[in-house]
Symmetry: C2
Subunit: 252 residues, 2 copies
DNA sequence: CGTTGGGTTGAGCTTGTTCAACCACCGTGG
DNA sequence: CCACGGTGGTTGAACAAGCTCAACCCAACG
């Protein structure tokens, strides 16, 4: 932070070398980039970076580094307990910002690439100054935080109240909706995460996830492919995920 | 919104009748009021209201109404599943803002007074305009959302990974810290919520909460009073809440 | 003085865990 | 080319955590 120190928002030397690839960016209309015209895009852009599956973009407790906007791939954000148990808090998809939350000068959670990932990298101070200086971006940051808060709260309710099969159904439905599927027609859904990732997201063991998959399959609600699920009965899936008074069963 | 409609932030007739009681407000230094000088306090203030134990300030799905800042009492914010199960997402204490989150023109969650409550009531549109118009308040809103996001994420990890006793220990420790207790000396902690409220917060049944209390008592970590707990061994409590490699046990 | 609401405890049952075997797939090296 | 080990996933059997149902206690209150 000595030679690179700047008080303004002007581009630094690294970046000004070549023009930002924002024009062809597949997520230039997402999150903070959404309202940006070409010149503000250029001003915000710094660099891109790639990670392979299994690598960490940042670890909980690491001294604060950059903020990331995912261009390609999926990131699992998780919290690890002192004894090694892991809770996956959220899966982040292209267009989303991660690595934002901080505690006392350190990253609060962990960000792990569960597929090959390419992300836009923002120096934290620059990102904060830039978003604070533009009212439209300030509002997007606020809206993103509110939306994430609602979404994590929903997840909390899933973990607190649903049985294993219900949790899996809720997860698949959530994935489905994230992919823009809302209808009642059978369709196929990519499923890039391992059983272990899903287990740590749903707060159950891997074997339980596997059994829950089998149960949904037995009910002819899904079919399993290599790295995807075929949703045969979206309405049935929704019924499992949002249990009406039908089944008075609770978590075991 | 017809007679009361105003485009500016000037006080409305209801409010201008008497001077705001902000001067003697016990939480005037909390959250959005924290940086306000007397005149901005007066400009933001609208009215106060009280609720008795068990009343709802707002229900999930209700058309959007005001935002509340708690002056006295505690509010349980929860989500209810279609079949009646309830997940308490958070307990809100004096100084905190609730009823903020909205979905599609409706309250996202439920706000229930679990003690007698007095709160400052803000018209949503006025509150949003006011906070958006002042940079210091915009920042406080952002920081509050980020803090809540982190806090709910922590709760998610508790529900996903901890056993019943560990969950209760984590809850008591959280309560303790909220009350400003950080030391290792025995001390007494108010416990105004019922076993049922705690159960729905921790994602277990009331009976399990009761057994967990008994277990902590058996370990001489706490003593139980009428509407309070005496924490005999804060370090022991912390050990239960943040399990080291010691106990390899997981949730059942 | 009986009733009501919150809390505790016990007994049996269910769910999900643990441990283990087993399978399919894939890349590597003999 | 096939044997090999590694990884990710499924399934079974025994076990344990937490749930359900029920009895019981106690304090507040009309």
């Amino acid at each position: 932070m000595s030679a690179a120190k700047r008080s303004s928002l002007t581009p630094d030397s690294r970046r000004s070398a070549k023009a930002p690839p924002c024009g062809s960016c597949p997520v230039k209309t997402h999150n903070v980039c959404q309202p940006l015209e070409a010149d503000r895009q250029q001003e915000l852009y710094e660099s891109r970076q790639s990670w392979s599956k299994g690598q960490f973009l940042y670890r909980a407790g690491d001294p604060l580094g950059p903020i990331f906007k995912i261009i390609i791939g999926i990131i699992a954000v998780s919290k690890r307990l002192p004894d090694g148990r892991r809770q996956v808090l959220d899966f982040f998809f292209p267009g989303e910002i991660c690595g934002y939350l901080e505690t006392d000068g350190h990253y609060t959670f962990e960000g792990e690439a569960i597929t090959p990932v390419t992300a836009c990298v923002f120096t934290r101070a620059r990102f904060k100054a830039f978003t604070a200086a533009h009212d439209d971006l300030t509002e997007i940051v606020r809206a993103t935080l509110a939306w994430k808060l609602e979404s994590v709260s929903h997840h909390t309710a899933v973990l607190g109240q649903l049985s294993a099969v219900e949790r899996l159904a809720a997860f698949l439905r959530w994935l489905d909706i994230r992919h823009g599927n809302h209808g009642d027609k059978p369709h196929t859904l990519p499923l890039p995460m391992t059983r272990d990732d899903i287990a740590d997201y749903l707060g159950v063991r891997m074997e339980t996830v596997s059994r829950a998959f089998s149960e949904l399959r037995r009910h002819k609600i899904i079919e399993l492919g290599e790295t995807c699920v075929r949703v045969l009965d979206p309405a049935g899936l929704a019924a499992f995920a949002d249990p009406e008074a039908a089944s008075p069963r609770k978590r075991g």
